[in-house]
Amino acid sequence: MRREPAIGGLRYASALVTTNLKASLALRGAFWLQASFMLLNNVTFFVTWLIFFHRFNEVRGWRLDDMLVLFAVVAGGYGLFNVLAGGALQLARAIGDGDLDPILVQPRPPLLQIVASRSTASGWGDLATGVIFLSLATRSHLAAAPLGLAAIVASAVVFTASAVLLQSLAFWLGRIEVVARQMLEFQITFGLYPSSLFGGALRVVLYTAIPAGFVGYLPAEFVRTASLPALAALFAGTAFFVALALVVFHRGLRVYESGSRFGGVW
């Protein structure tokens, strides 16, 4: 076996990311339409919150700036996830159709290849929303800006891990793309509201089954307070979901049937 120096792995990873971005830019017209309209879409959506806080000023300790940070983290994280790891959203379909085959015969970690095999143009619009909202929210205390970027990265990692986790269930359950996507939508929806609104059992759900807390509330809390405990919790949660996603995906590979279970050709 050829031994692989680490540098080769890095060069491979950067080539993969470059190729992926090139592919998403290949259809220039569609790229700009989707990216700019997604930004516009997010800004228009946020109008509801502008109106809300204009009228009520503060709810359960939350103000407009807090909402801006939360929205920035969720949109930015989801955008970064779509730009760099959009392939994760295709995983369940690829499992069902047997599209993992050409990836599995290459001598590289399959999950990395799948995840980075697609980049969604609208993701750039989300990412831009994140950056713009973040700079608006931290305009008076610029020190928080780097924290915000770190929070966006953490949020993107948790989004990727949850997408892989949900979509990997297709190894056992078959055609679940729609459900998997829906679950991720729930994660976004819940992530967009302060979790101080939710109590008891629901809050537990939001940090476990639907890890909305880790893509929104917790990273946003870290930006707001710059506190070490928030950082520690964020780091632990992110690491946990990444590890879980890796384990589930690799267990799934063992029962991968290359599309044969669902009426394929033997």
């Binding site: 228009t44 109008v47 509801t48 609104l197």
Partner: protein, 268 residues
């Protein structure tokens, strides 16, 4: 078109409507998922409004009022089939061009199909939506007659949404990708129609401006009926919806004509 031809065309539209209806039954699971989604929104906003009301920031409204308002507006947004996706797909696959020589005009057939689908959606979703309203609103609004009027108005409001969706789908002829246009339309409807917040909490200038748009007639119009029966206001909303539906139909017809010309010159 002679009278005899017309009498033959009517069952064709009915057949398309039935087709749309059957398709909705097949997609029950998706509908249930979207309803679950609305339940999440209702849950969130029942908490939001509870927090607002406990600080006495909004006089004269109960939590039930505000949650049921969202029940109605979401019912409008949920009950129209995504015609733009169909039209876009037909344009991409060339099915639209293939269907042009058929005796029933494509646009009319698709609209009939949507109407059938919408009827089924409303029948399936209304009980679910009302249940969610009772659960998350912790009760029902004081004046149930208002709820009845609101439910009646949901239908013309959803028709307006279908017409919008048709126009968005046709835009794919020029833009090649209709989804981004749909996002913007949807978010404008949220903001200017008052999907989550009734227009009365908006700044006055914004509320006044929003009332001139079809979005306010489509969402806030039926939604605010749950606050209590007001015959005059109900008639006004019904009139606005009638006006915007007519305007929408004219616009779609005009767009359809332009689209046909674009297809003829480019060969699809």
């Amino acid at each position: 078109m002679s009278a005899r031809q017309r009498s033959r065309a009517t069952p064709a539209y009915l057949a398309y409507a039935a087709l749309g209806a059957r398709r909705e039954f097949a997609g029950k699971a998706t509908l249930a998922a979207r309803m679950l989604f609305v339940a999440v929104i209702l849950l969130v906003f029942s908490r939001v409004w509870a927090a607002v009301l406990e600080r006495g920031l909004l006089a004269g409204r109960t939590r039930a009022d505000l949650v049921w308002y969202i029940v109605i507006t979401e019912l409008v947004m949920l009950s129209f089939p995504y015609l733009h996706l169909e039209v876009e797909a037909d344009l991409r696959s060339g099915d639209l061009v293939a269907r042009l020589p058929q005796p029933v005009p494509y646009a009319a057939a698709r609209l009939a199909e949507s109407a059938g689908g919408m009827a089924v959606r409303l029948a399936l979703l209304t009980p679910m939506a009302l249940t969610c309203g009772a659960v998350f609103g912790a009760g029902v609004p004081g004046d149930l007659r208002g709820v009845v009027v609101a439910l009646v108005l949901v239908f013309p409001a959803a028709c307006l949404a279908v017409l919008s969706s048709a126009a968005i789908g046709l835009s794919a002829i020029w833009l090649h990708d209709a989804s981004p246009v749909y996002w913007i339309w949807q978010k404008l409807a949220f903001a200017l129609g008052g999907l989550l917040l009734p227009l009365e909490v908006y700044p006055h200038w914004l509320a006044a401006a929003a009332r001139w748009t079809p979005f306010a007639a489509m969402l806030n119009g039926p939604g605010r009926m749950v606050f209590g029966l007001d015959g005059g206001d109900a008639a006004r909303v019904a009139g606005q919806l009638l006006f915007w539906n007519l305007a929408g139909a004219v616009f779609v017809a005009w767009l359809w004509g332009r689209a046909l010309r674009a297809i003829e010159t480019s060969g699809g």
